[in-house]
Amino acid sequence: MERLDRSSVALLVEELDKVYADGTKALQGLELRVPAGSFFGLLGPNGAGKTTLIGAAAGLVRVPEGRIFVFGHDAVADPSARLLLGLSPQEVRLDRFLTARELLTYHGRYFGMAKLEAARRADELLEVFDLTAKAATKPHRLSGGMRRRLSIARALVHHPRLVVLDEPTAGVDLELRHELWRYLRRLHAREGVTVLLTTHYIEEAETLCERVAFIRDGHIVAEGSPQEIVSRFGGERLEDAYLKAIRR
């Protein structure tokens, strides 16, 4: 049997089960490998288990069954795994007592950065995400798009090697969506960061992702490059393959 070097895989999920208290089976023996350095898309209908999987990897969902590794570090038992992962959740929820700059700075410090280093990184990200003018503004005074950008910036503060973006472009206007795409491509290409993206927009996955996985009822039903998946399931585009895979 092939022996896997876990540290060479950005996210490795082994037989992950999750049943919520109300009996909902969110994940059922889920297996997934997100190669290091890849731009990986996770697609699936609502309730398929995408957010649960991401929550489990980030330490926000309890997982009694199965194992998750981030670059070889056990995501449940080893706190080092948290340093390697940056999460921008689906729902943007920001500390209302802090300004945009403080929010990024505190986040960096929660992840062990020195005060000055965190402040410098916050300024850098505010500039990248065009939020410098709003540095002293508290989150509730920001527009939805700005809050979304701030949430993504927050995920990047501590220089994670795996960035997990849960539907980052949901409810975002077209202009901002393209702007985020440009930034994510740059981040992935220049810094070699692995990106795991969940999205409902198939064209987004098609445009950005080198590999994609379809998730349905808590398990992966297809995984590969968009071209591989299209040739496996048929159709002209990823959208056709997605519909066929999900409806099977």
């Binding site: 929550g55 309890r62 706190p79 080092s80 410090r109």
Partner: protein, 260 residues
Amino acid sequence: MTSAELRVVQRRGTLALSGREVRRVVTLWTQTILPPAATGLLFLAVFGGALGGRIRVIERIDYLDFILPGLLVMTVAGQSFVNNSTSLFQAKNEGYIDDVLTSPLRPWQLAVAYMTGGLVRGLLAAAVVALVAASFTDGIRNVALAAIALLLTGLLFSALGVITGVWAESFDQHAFVANLVITPLALVGGVFYSARTLSEPWSTLTRVDPLYYLVDVTRAGTAGFEESSVWLSLAVAALAALAAFSVAAALLARGWRLKP
């Protein structure tokens, strides 16, 4: 990353979260420091000034000197508790607690960081009351003992605040504990009276209240009068604080009501 490097990361993270909690207390001083300080001073004015004329001395101590330690304990206990239960409840309710739950901090470090805010709020409010009261009272006999007693009070009640913040799923639940557990405990903990002057079962019931020991040992520090052994009181308070801290850390480790 070596384990030593990870420890540095976690230490910095703990300090940052503690700083965030203290900052919240200081920024919101009109809500966090001013009201409890005013309440403490009103208690002093009503019980010490108005009623003090009728109850001049209790246990051979001036009544104002007798009630001051209890008021300090009440202030520290109430404010430490409410600060942490509110801060955690808000963070949980509004979802931004995820920011710290995804961090590499260990559960006990999260508990310590949250407790710091409560401790600072309780001690600051009590310091204001003590400063104003200083001109009407005989001063503090044993500052170190009084400080240890108030510190233990803060530790115990800020840990209880963390537990309540984790447990509460609605503002009603949070208020229930504050109004129907903490306040009664404070009022029957021997703040305004001496337990040995009470008849049974009230005397024994007062001694079951952990706050009684905290009030008693604080009084030993401020007025030089105690009903129970100082060491017994300190031991009860320390054990209660340790137990509450352990429960708070265990709940955070389990993610009870924080993680689905």
